[in-house]
């Protein structure tokens, strides 16, 4: 969005209160959604719950195409559509809800940096494992991604998406990495997060922020998703404070609302149910 359009949108956003029928769109929960998309969607859901804003999760097979930026999830509020966590946080801030207002400037800088760390390393690693590792791509990703479509569209779309992701990996220099190196990067990223978290309940002590929502979305999805090998989950399990962090957020924000929304989404992706 251009600067002028964005200013306009935030003005309109500020004018209206949060509607009751806000909806979050993501791909189909059981059959279609992939690891990376589920992580992003869960992060947004976690953030909304932390802000105490109600939203209904709607699953559509063409969610990716409906989204204004091509990425899921996106939320539909009133007559506006906003996609991806960053713009959604801005949008919600314009409506007067923010989790990071109490932070100092240096802390805000650190928060933004760590969010980029998660996007840069964890999300890219997830994409790599899904689409560039031939085993996973063949057994899990391609069948899931193309499940709502009939032949031959399913093959066409799956290969097209795979080609696109592989080109992106090449452009950012990840194409030359082996799977082990990617796991190593995930481990480093988790180590950094674990060190930053330390023994605190949330990253910035008492209150959760968008960083907590993002980290929760990714780590919880990694822990509860069954891939061709368990190595990704094992890398995260090495850090006990991250495990208790995920459990804490799940307990505080997801269990006293309906339990179905989160456990049913993961039970089809994995053999086990929740973290417990």
């Amino acid at each position: 969005m251009s600067l002028a359009a964005e200013a306009f949108v935030s003005q309109i956003a500020a004018a209206e209160p949060w509607p009751e029928n806000a909806a979050l769109y993501q791909p189909l929960k059981d059959d279609q959604i992939l690891l990376s998309d589920h992580a992003s969607s869960l992060a947004v859901q976690a953030y909304l719950r932390m802000c105490n804003l109600p939203v209904q999760v709607a699953c559509r097979a063409n969610a990716e195409y409906m989204s204004p930026s091509g990425k899921v999830p996106f939320i539909h509020i009133g007559n506006q559509v906003v996609s991806e966590l960053g713009p959604i946080v801005q949008f919600i801030k314009a409506k007067g809800h923010s989790l990071s207002d109490g932070l100092g400037e240096v802390q805000k800088a650190e928060m933004k940096a760590y969010m980029e760390l998660v996007n840069n390393m964890l999300l890219t690693a997830e994409l790599y494992i899904q689409w560039c590792d031939e085993n996973t791509a063949k057994e899990i990703t391609r069948p899931r991604f193309s499940s709502p479509y009939t032949w031959p569209l399913n093959h066409v779309l799956a290969y097209q998406k795979q080609w696109e992701v592989r080109r992106k990996m090449k452009a950012i220099g990840w194409a030359g990495k082996t799977l082990d190196q990617v796991y190593e990067d995930v481990s480093q990223c988790c180590q950094a997060l674990s060190q930053r978290l330390g023994t605190q309940p949330y990253f910035f002590n008492k209150q959760p922020t968008e960083l907590d929502a993002l980290v929760f979305g990714h780590l919880f999805t990694i822990l509860t998703t069954q891939l061709t090998s368990d190595e990704l989950g094992e890398k995260v399990k090495n850090y006990s404070n991250l495990l208790s962090f995920c459990r804490r957020i799940e307990q505080n924000y997801f269990e006293d609302h309906d339990k179905d929304s989160i456990t049913s989404s993961t039970s089809h992706l994995s053999k086990g149910s929740s973290l417990m």
Binding site: M1, V106, A113, E116, A171, Q191, Q195, R196
Partner: protein, 329 residues
């Protein structure tokens, strides 16, 4: 820190200009890290990426592990050789390093690539001109354009926007992210000398690598530069690193920076190539003209036999006799 004694590795990187040790951000990062960690490297400053051992710059040629190309890998290699600028960092600072490097790569680097390679005015007047002047013939016709399309592709893929054209919309968004990133860096740096206290670390190398070209290279169309100049602590930080670690490069800078009074000087610098190019071009021009003359018959060389030469010599005499005869009668 025990330092391993072995043959120094060789680093190939783009050469520099105007006080910068190198014009490429990745090369600057590696050079800065090597200085910070005290790694003895033999540095080759070249302008032809095809002469580097991996085909791209920067490249580190090591005695045992072959050649490495990305700055990330080069720094890891140097660390393994016990040249570690992050030795004194705490665990949390190490985590912060990783986070801020990601911030740089996601928010600032795309805007830098845009400013140097995609923005039409900057690209044509500064970037392409510099590369075309410095890359040897005949690559200078081909490489800058290829690097340009590479940069454009990369930006398009990273932003997921297949319709990215150099224009206001994209520029505003990219620059807005970059302004925010630079402001955040400035806030994190505060009044410290380096990001983690009094000694530089790998994060300083990355930040320096990206900000220094922005500070030193004069771009005609650059709001990014203006924003950077408004952040005093970052400007001082870059100048400080340049003065402290790249002193000899900085002293070469003024010689190249003022071309008019020192024009002879710069000519002498480039002299071997320039003379040779001039000579070659004159030769080619002469050869073309002479060849054309021969082909169209303006000039022709007739091969003459000794036989014909004699006849040729006699012929005017005969003509002369005839004339005499005519006159006589």
């Amino acid at each position: 820190m025990r330092k391993k004694m072995s043959a120094p590795s060789e680093l190939y990187c783009w050469k520099g200009e105007r006080g910068l040790p190198s014009v490429d951000p990745d090369c600057l990062t590696v050079l800065a890290y090597a200085k910070f960690a005290g790694a003895p490297l033999k540095v080759h400053k070249i302008a032809n990426p095809w002469r580097s051992p991996t085909g791209s710059l920067p490249a580190l040629k090591t005695s045992e592990d072959g050649s490495l190309s990305q700055p990330h890998k080069i720094i890891i290699h140097l660390r393994k050789q016990k040249y570690n600028a992050d030795y004194d960092l705490s665990a949390k600072e190490g985590a912060d390093t990783l986070a801020f490097i990601s911030l740089l790569e996601e928010k600032l680097l795309p805007a830098l690539i845009y400013a140097f390679w995609v923005d039409s005015k900057n690209y044509v007047e500064v970037t392409r001109r510099w590369y075309a002047e410095n890359i040897p013939f005949p690559l200078n016709f081909y490489l800058p354009t290829r690097m340009h399309s590479h940069a454009l592709d990369r930006l398009r893929l990273v932003r997921g926007d297949s319709g990215l054209e150099p224009g206001d919309e994209a520029e505003k968004e990219l620059y807005r992210d970059a302004y925010e990133c630079m402001t955040l860096l400035s806030q994190r740096l505060g009044t410290q000398k380096f990001f983690f206290g009094d000694f530089p670390s790998s994060l300083d190398a990355y930040v320096f690598g990206q900000l220094a070209p922005l500070l030193k290279v004069k771009l005609p169309n650059c709001k990014l530069q203006q924003h950077l100049k408004s952040l005093d602590n970052l400007c001082h930080y870059c100048s400080h690193i340049l003065d402290l670690y790249f002193q000899n490069e900085a002293s070469d800078g003024p010689a190249r920076k003022a071309p008019t009074p020192r024009e002879d000087g710069s000519d002498f610098d480039n002299e071997p190539h320039k003379r040779r190019n001039q000579f070659l071009s004159v030769l080619v021009a002469l050869g073309a003209m002479v060849g054309y003359a021969f082909l169209t018959g303006i000039v022709s060389i007739q091969r003459s036999d000794p036989h014909n030469a004699l006849h040729g010599r006699r012929a005017p005499q005969l003509a002369g006799d005839e004339v005499d005869d005519e006159d006589g009668e």
